[in-house]
């Protein structure tokens, strides 16, 4: 009971710190993140540019700071639709069982064998590059994990006494699902969501890296890493700092997920 919250608190602190960076980006940034400067190409980290400059003379520190906004925006928004879709399908399937369950789970079976990122890439390739299309792709394939978790919970909950009691009292199925099943199925889903956020941020950056994400000159970490990859032996700072930032934000969410899982397990 004591150790679990420590992880959780550390995770929340890290993520909150990044949240502050994102909110205060205009105050923290020392330069315009998209302003080019022919006089200061590929400058190493120093007093003028804390993290150096890139191949168009843009300030890497300011770009990393502004990039936080995109990372959090992608991570937090990207998991909403998959979670909503997945939970709905999972809860309905688990609660009703029978052919509804069979249908939903066959749908899952069809989608599961495809590697997640390959599927996302294929969908984005068809729809065209861009963050919006990434969100659509996530909504189409990201719900599976949520559906499985929610279904497992619903299967247990529908046998529980308070659900049976609610039914006996004549409450409608949608009411029971919303008021009694959903709240009790939420905790494992939230834990899963934390790890999912990390993945969504990473894959979003990977799309940027492949040139299928945000358009240039957006200060997005994946694009920055891609642009820096050619310079890795001569100007390491272009790719290193956005990479470091991504690791740190990922660790933050992972700690929250881990901490939450332990805490909930102990509480139960």
């Amino acid at each position: 009971m004591r150790r679990a919250p420590a992880l959780l608190v550390a995770g929340i602190a890290i993520v909150a710190a990044w949240g502050l960076v994102a909110l205060a980006a205009p105050f923290l940034a020392t330069h315009d993140p998209i302003a080019i400067n022919f006089e200061a190409l590929l400058q190493p980290p120093g007093d003028a540019n804390y993290f150096g400059t890139d191949n168009t003379g843009r300030d890497v520190f300011s770009r990393v700071v502004y990039g936080t906004r995109y990372a959090l925006y992608i991570g937090l928004l990207g998991v909403l639709a998959p979670m909503a879709i997945g939970m709905t399908i999972g809860l309905v399937a688990g609660y009703f069982g029978g052919w509804v369950d069979a249908l939903a789970m066959r749908l899952v079976d069809v989608a599961v064998p495809f590697p997640f990122f390959v599927l996302v890439l294929a969908i984005v390739a068809v729809l065209g590059p861009g963050i919006e299309n990434y969100f659509i792709a996530l909504a189409l394939v990201g719900w599976i994990g949520y559906a499985r978790l929610a279904r497992a919970e619903a299967l247990v909950l529908r046998q529980s006494e308070f659900v049976l009691a609610a039914r006996t009292m004549g409450f409608s199925h949608p009411y029971i699902l919303a008021r009694h099943v959903l709240p009790n199925a939420l905790s494992p889903v939230v834990v899963y969501m934390m790890t999912d956020i990390t993945l969504v941020i990473l894959f979003g950056a990977a799309l940027g890296f492949l040139g299928m994400g945000a358009p240039p000159p957006t200060p997005e970490w994946g694009i920055m890493i891609a642009e820096g990859s050619f310079y890795i032996s001569t100007a390491w700072w272009i790719a290193f700092f956005p990479g470091l930032a991504m690791v740190m934000i990922g660790v933050g969410f992972a700690l929250i997920g881990d901490g939450l899982a332990r805490w909930l397990r102990l509480r139960a």
Binding site: N55, T56, R58, P129, G211, P216, Y231
Partner: protein, 498 residues
């Protein structure tokens, strides 16, 4: 990235294992794949580089770029410029069979007329090629063509064996051809490497100087750079600018910047506002500091472009004044036309982020609102050809040293490609393009190409950005190897120094 590099690491290990036995083999790593060995079927860089080794032509170029006798010992041009007569030397194919006028006529008619021919444009003037006797070939033209002799040297004018193509069919031939060039195919592993052995029957006695060569396909540029640094290959193609200094600094490797016909350009869409207006195109050109862009992108290795034609081409106008860098004047044009704040859609093809960033920043600084739209290569072509864009940037190169085909590709509105699909169309340029082809006097041709360059620069048919040199790296174990602007390796004159 790690996944991409894994196969490269395996390749490297395999190479290392075979290095001990490969003393006399020149290995070249290139990103450009070899996809066919039939010289008429492709004009892609990787194939052009291979064709040159497999097929001899009637003429060849020496180190100075001058045409010299090759399979043809001598030649004569009729006064009206409509008949070219070539006297052939006694030469053989790699299997020892004689190379006759029949083979030459077959090969040239094939590249000019065969529906499979990927790049017949050079031979548009040709009506037929006839074998007069066993060692005399006659080219008959419908109209005079200034560069016709030049075209007897280019990559797809290589002579193939009529008997071989007839006997085995073009498809079997394309996979394992009889060779007339300095090298013959020992083994071809598509998507991996083309292994060449010296052709013992090559017409040029004493050449090639090495026992063989391998053209190895390595798409990852970091892997290529490591291979030359580790001594696993003798040469690599296209070292990224960011790594040139590091590779060049190595003791036994040099990266001489070699002239190429590669030109980077901004392509405005001439059919859509605002770039249907020459003044607005001029504003877009004047907004760009081409010197600074060239320097930023190439780390000082490429030269800012002044003309719409590549600098390595014949009749390139070196002294032509390009559009000046004058952002104030650019802004004045936009203000006068009430176009400040106009949104322009800029197609951003893959791996162009740095250039797109620089373009957007400079255009936005004079009053455009540039919206970069990332697109994959397929979509980029679709939208370029369909005219669904305002502006984009790209590059092109010319496979021949004569500007005729370059002008037809990039500047002529009625020559089939709509001026690189920008739909720039100036009848005077088209007229000059046709006249310059038919003119035989080099001086007059030069004047016509100069006028073409003057017109297209002043009307901003495209915005020339920079001339990109080849950044090939060579090991000091060999000497004599270079890549000509026409994408020909001088492999037959390459030798090992140690």
């Amino acid at each position: 990235m790690e996944r991409l590099q894994l196969p490269a690491a395996i390749t490297a290990a395999v190479l290392l294992a075979s290095a001990a036995t490969a003393q006399d083999i020149v290995r070249i790593a290139s990103p450009n794949p070899v996809t066919t060995l039939d010289p008429i079927r492709s004009a892609a860089a990787g194939n052009i580089e291979a064709f040159g080794q497999l097929y001899a032509r009637l003429l060849r170029r020496d180190e100075t770029g001058a045409l010299q006798p090759a399979l043809a010992e001598s030649w004569a041009v009729s006064d009206d410029g409509l008949t070219y007569t070539f006297e052939l030397r006694a030469a053989k194919f790699s299997d020892g069979s004689p190379l006759t006028a029949e083979d030459v006529a077959f090969s040239l008619n094939r590249v000019a007329k065969d529906p499979e021919s990927a790049y017949p444009a050079a031979y548009a003037a040709l009506s037929e090629v006839v074998a007069v006797d066993a060692d005399t070939v006659e080219l008959r033209l419908e109209y005079p063509a200034g560069p016709m002799l030049d075209y007897m040297e280019i990559f797809n004018a290589g002579i193939v064996s009529k008997a071989d193509v007839d006997a085995r069919g073009a498809d079997a031939f394309a996979a394992s051809p009889l060779s007339s060039g300095p090298f013959m195919v020992q083994e071809w592993r598509p998507n991996d490497r083309l292994i060449l052995a010296a052709n013992p029957n090559y017409w040029r006695e004493g050449y090639p100087l090495v026992a063989g060569a391998e053209l190895i396909e390595v798409s990852d540029s970091n892997a290529r750079a490591s291979m030359i640094l580790a001594g696993e290959v003798e040469a690599v193609r296209a070292v990224p600018y960011a790594q040139v200094a590091e590779v060049d600094a190595a003791d036994d490797v040099a990266v001489p910047l070699e002239p190429s016909t590669v030109i980077y350009v901004v392509l405005p869409n001439h059919t859509k506002p605002p770039f249907d207006d020459a003044d607005v195109r001029r504003a877009a050109a004047m907004a760009l500091d081409r010197q600074a862009i060239a320097k930023a992108i190439s780390l000082g290795m490429a030269k800012a472009a002044n003309s719409t034609l590549p600098e390595a081409l014949a009749f390139y106008a070196a002294d032509l004044e390009g559009q000046p860098y004058d952002p104030a004047a650019a802004r004045a044009i936009l203000e006068e036309k009430g176009l400040v704040g106009t949104e322009i859609v800029m197609l951003a093809p893959p791996d162009s982020a740095q250039l797109m960033t620089l373009l957007k920043a400079q255009w936005d600084a004079v009053g455009f609102m540039t919206k970069a739209e990332p697109v994959d290569t397929g979509l980029w072509w679709d939208r370029l050809v369909g005219g669904d864009y305002n502006i984009t940037a790209s590059w092109w190169y010319n496979e021949t040293m004569d500007p005729d085909l370059a002008a037809r590709w990039a500047l002529c509105g009625s020559c089939g490609n709509n001026s690189y699909y920008t739909n720039y169309n100036n009848p005077r340029v088209d007229e000059l393009t046709e006249a310059a082809l038919r003119e035989l006097d080099p001086e007059k041709r030069g004047a016509m190409y100069r006028e073409i360059q003057e017109i297209t620069v002043s009307e901003v048919s495209q915005v020339p950005l920079w001339y990109a040199p080849f950044t090939n790296a060579y090991s000091s174990r060999i000497e004599g190897l270079r890549l000509t602007p026409a994408l020909q390796w001088t492999l037959e004159e390459t030798r090992f120094t140690k």
